[in-house]
């Protein structure tokens, strides 16, 4: 396959993808994990990513687009380095999820799906993330933060800002 020689992904990820397509009875089953892992490395699903994934799976780019538009975690535009996802679904709502989202919005100066000008943070109001008994909760990239208050959220955001080297 031509992509083995020429790939936009890191050698590790390219090797992972080479293996991924062999794990299933049908190659296409690797599509959704492949898109998510590619997004993790590149930051978003650019036209180039979509083209290479389509080639690796052996389907049309339009088919890839049709699938990716269904899944809420997949995006075709860059997010912040740290994507702050605050749950406002019922269990979080009952314990201050809305206030937490608004606090993050004010603190970061951005709204739902916004990105800070320095590109460090983006913010999303998300549906249930499976932290209902430890509400309110947020995910920053893949990390869970639970039993949050506006004050503890500030500390969490400070830690991430430090990580970003600002």
């Amino acid at each position: 396959m031509a992509t083995e020689k020429k790939t936009m992904f890191s050698p590790q990820l390219a090797a992972r993808f080479d293996k991924l397509v062999t794990l299933y009875p049908l190659r296409r089953s690797a599509l959704i994990p492949m898109l998510l892992y590619a997004q993790d490395e590149v930051g978003y699903l650019s036209d180039e990513v979509i083209a290479e994934v389509a080639a690796r799976i052996g389907i049309q780019e339009s088919d890839v687009l049709s699938v990716l538009s269904y899944y809420s975690m997949l995006r075709t535009k860059p997010a912040g380095k740290f994507n702050v996802q605050v749950c406002t679904n019922i269990c979080c709502m009952l314990r201050g999820g809305n206030e937490l989202f608004e606090h993050c919005s004010k603190r970061l100066g951005i709204g739902h799906k916004g990105v800070t000008p320095d590109g460090v943070f983006s913010l999303e109001e998300v549906e249930c993330i499976g932290a209902c008994s430890w509400a309110p909760a947020a995910q920053i990239n893949y990390d869970f933060h639970e039993n949050l208050t506006p004050e503890s959220m500030d500390k969490v955001l400070d830690e991430y800002r430090e990580k970003a080297g600002k």
């Binding site: 898109l35 975690m73 019922i90 269990c91 549906e127 008994s133």
Partner: protein, 437 residues
């Protein structure tokens, strides 16, 4: 990070290895791990299914279908390969239990998959985790690799001459994919839209082959049943509702958390004793007993045993085990609206009653909450919801309609209090208004 909460009434079965380092395969073996699979290999298909039937284990995903019976529907002979599919897409609001299983006891899921495979003659299993659970996918992948390295997966498992492959798989954010037919579509690399049934997955499922689809907690329970015996497991619960389950207590409680309690445990006791009651001496207004899709119960309806039949008799459903407690400060219209906004967001749009119904209900509830509705609109909301029931390809439409009907039916007065320009009589912080807008 996700942990089990303790209480004297807790009966640890599926959680018995939690917090003991069982993610390490060596530790898991020390804790009698993989003994159930060895035993199941000796038992063979018919004996495994008989044991599962005797256990009265019912699906922990929400529908509560008897697991042994589900397995027995898979045809013995099939031209196409058979598959086991673990539903770890856990997305029903108020449900956060499978997370604990993947985090603390991933090998029990692998054992459950292998044993299900032995029961129905499948040679391959898939463990599907929701995309948000990346840290759990890493744990699951390591567990699978370790099981391969020990010869528990792959060719000739445990020297039995039987081959079994297992693959972990990630989703990328979609509630609808927790529905079994949409789950198969997603695993096949497509948009997660449901398939029409019949044919049922047990006959034509993944890649066209007969497929058993079970919730992660259901399959993680299987090795424990094989080891203790179906009859013993059944004794713990109530009639036709064997064993224990992980209940996720959330909302206005002193001690929210995930607790493993026997099936049939009293709901009132669950709230006031296990969950520690309602903070600040506030009064109870309502309980959602089994995840966001289950009809709400009033305080006078909660003196019931939490099993599929008793909650069903009370007019609701045991569902996925997510118990949401609402105190007197909650606006039921806002709660109904937030619930509907979720279903509107998650409707896949494939069939019209769900796509249009959730959208119109969101609009109607938004307008009503803001004071822009008249009395007739309350009936229209209920009428609209009732006309979604049973008219969609998959249960998402029902999941949106059922709670709405119950909210209107049981809390009509609160809906009326919003009418004719009055708007919401409850105090809302500006944050609520912003999110509802």
């Amino acid at each position: 990070m996700a942990y089990l909460t303790t209480h004297p009434d807790v009966v640890p079965i599926v959680s018995s290895r939690f917090g003991k380092g069982a993610t390490s395969i060596d530790k898991y073996l020390e804790l009698d791990g993989y003994k159930a699979t060895r035993k199941a290999i000796e038992m063979g298909s018919d004996a495994i299914i008989a044991e599962m039937k005797a256990s009265n284990l019912r699906g922990r995903g929400g529908a509560g279908f008897p697991t042994g019976m589900k397995w027995s529907f898979v045809p013995k002979k099939s031209d196409k390969p058979k598959y086991i599919l673990v539903n770890g897409d856990e997305s029903e609001p108020a449900t956060c239990k499978d997370r604990l299983i993947f985090e603390h006891d991933p090998h029990s899921v692998i054992e459950g998959v292998i044993i299900a495979g032995l029961a129905v003659g499948a040679k391959m299993g898939f463990i599907y985790l929701r995309g948000e659970y990346r840290y759990l996918l890493n744990i699951m992948e390591r567990a699978i690799d370790d099981a391969y390295a020990k010869g528990f997966l792959g060719k000739n498992i445990f020297g039995s001459g039987i081959d079994f492959e297992a693959v972990s798989h990630t989703g990328a954010g979609a509630y609808e994919v927790g529905e079994e037919s949409a789950l198969m579509e997603s695993l096949e690399g497509k948009r997660g839209i449901p398939r029409i049934r019949p044919p049922f997955p047990a006959v034509v499922g993944l890649y066209g082959g007969p497929t058993v689809i079970n919730n992660a907690e259901t399959l993680a329970t299987v090795p424990y049943i094989i080891q203790m015996g179906g009859a013993e497991y059944a004794k713990i619960g109530t009639e036709r509702n064997g064993g224990t389950r992980l209940f996720c207590l959330s909302g206005h409680l002193e001690k929210p958390g995930v607790y493993e309690l026997p099936m049939g445990y009293n709901l009132k006791k669950m709230i006031y004793d296990v969950g520690g009651g309602i903070p600040g001496g506030k009064k109870l207004k309502a309980v959602v007993p089994g995840g966001s899709s289950t009809p709400v119960l009033r305080p006078d309806e909660i003196d019931i045993g939490m099993d599929f039949d008793q909650v069903g008799k009370a007019g609701s459903m045991l569902g996925s085990g997510g118990v949401v407690v609402l105190d007197e400060t909650v606006c039921m219209v806002e709660f109904a609206l937030r619930t509907m906004k979720f279903y509107q967001h998650e409707s896949c749009g494939w069939c019209i009653p769900c796509r249009e119904g959730t959208d119109w209900l969101t609009k109607s509830l938004t307008r009503l909450h803001a004071g822009g509705a008249v009395d007739k609109d309350i009936d229209n909301i209920r009428y609209l919801a009732e006309n979604m029931l049973g008219r969609t390809f998959c249960p998402l439409g029902d999941a949106a309609a059922m709670p709405t009907i119950a909210f209107v039916q049981k809390f009509r007065k609160e809906f009326e209090d919003h009418l004719d320009g009055k708007g919401c009589p409850y105090h809302h912080s500006p944050a609520h208004e912003a999110v509802l807008a």
